[in-house]
């Protein structure tokens, strides 16, 4: 009979050596992945699985989250959470190019308006404004301060109005 999450978490908590902890972590992840890969998993189980991936997921789980989003019709909250977990994993795995491309795609379809009309620069993450300011340096500093709390956080700084400046160069 398969173990419940409670049992798997208990095993993880009781593990003494690093090897035992690693085995318990792997057992938990395997259980979560099997559930997320199943087309019959309930939304509540998906949420629980995503919570586990948020803290313990690895590179291979990024595609898994994409597949879950495509396979299941998730409500707005769960969909947003799934995307947030995916971004967490991208940040933790240092996939800066992927993050940049995702962010640029969002910015192309969803122009951002600062709260303060005097702001000329925005720090954005997942299409949301994290910080804004009249000078680029103050927005850079705000993101650096956020990275003190969570070092893996990734934000882009874009000018208000024209998120992606166009250039023409030979090549």
């Amino acid at each position: 009979m398969p173990k419940t999450y409670a049992e798997l978490y208990k095993e993880l908590a009781q593990a003494k050596s690093e090897d035992e902890k690693q085995l318990a972590r792997q057992a938990l992840l395997t259980c979560v992945r099997d559930e997320l890969d199943s087309p019959h998993t309930e939304i509540e189980q998906i949420k629980t699985g995503l919570e586990v991936l948020q803290t313990r997921g690895t590179l291979e789980d990024i595609q898994r989250i994409d597949d879950v989003v495509v396979r299941h019709s998730l409500d707005g909250f769960t969909l947003n959470f799934a995307r947030e977990v995916k971004r967490h994993l991208q940040e933790r795995c240092y996939l800066l190019a992927d993050i940049s491309r995702d962010e640029e795609d969002i910015l192309r379809t969803q122009p951002l308006t600062p709260k303060d009309p005097g702001s000329r620069w925005l720090a954005v993450r997942r299409g949301k404004i994290l910080a804004e300011g009249a000078e680029r340096a103050e927005v850079e500093a705000a993101v650096s301060r956020m990275q003190v709390a969570r070092s893996s956080l990734v934000a882009l700084i874009v000018p208000v109005g024209s998120a992606l400046p166009s250039v023409h160069e030979r090549r």
Binding site: E91, C93, Y94, L95, L96, A97, I99, S100, R101, E104, A123, V139, E140, V143, S144, Q147, S151, S152, L153, V154, A155, L156, I157, V158, A163, L164, P165, S166, V167, E169, R170, R171
Partner: protein, 173 residues
């Protein structure tokens, strides 16, 4: 003189070719792909208070067709990942297909060579033409003297070479 070399297709370029094309280049392809390629250093100068990261030697192509000196974004990304430092994206200027920054400078033959503006372009791998990690563009070549024959090239810092010796070589621009 900063460097003098014959046109070549370096092992590092072959590795990039294999990664992109999923096969080894044929002998005739290697002959066609030989060009002004060389190994260079990249110096990282982060903003004040940020840690410096070390970048491995990079394979570069002297690209007179490129307006701007360009470094493959993923090459820099890998160095940051290896160093496990916070993301630097918020310090860089977003531009189509990548970023622009003054945090990296090219070193040729151990000599730092700034670009005209001091900035370099970081371009996503899929937009990098050829099989190199760096394209040395005209914004950098402007600071140097490039002599190029059918199978040899020389890069010289004009400030280090007496004018008389430069006039001897007719291929110098």
């Amino acid at each position: 003189m900063i460097t003098r070399a014959t046109f070549t297709f370096l092992q590092q370029q072959e590795a990039i070719f294999q990664a992109k094309m999923k096969r080894a280049p044929s002998t005739s392809e290697v002959e066609d792909l030989k060009g002004p390629a060389l190994m260079i250093g990249i110096r990282h100068t982060p903003p004040h208070g940020q840690p410096t990261i070390q970048l491995p030697p990079a394979v570069a192509f002297i690209d007179t067709g490129a307006d701007r000196t360009t470094i493959e974004f993923e090459f820099v990304e890998a160095a940051y990942r290896a160093a496990n430092r916070p993301s630097p994206l918020h310090f860089w200027t977003v531009r189509p297909r990548g970023y622009e920054t003054h945090h990296f400078a090219v070193e040729i033959g151990g000599v730092p060579v700034p670009t005209r503006t001091g900035n370099v372009v970081l371009l996503y791998r899929k937009y990098m033409p050829g099989y190199e990690q760096v394209l040395v563009g005209r914004d950098l070549l402007k600071q140097l003297t490039l002599c190029c024959s059918t199978d040899t090239f020389t890069l010289t810092d004009p400030l280090l070479v007496p004018i008389r010796s430069r006039t001897v070589d007719p291929c110098c621009r």
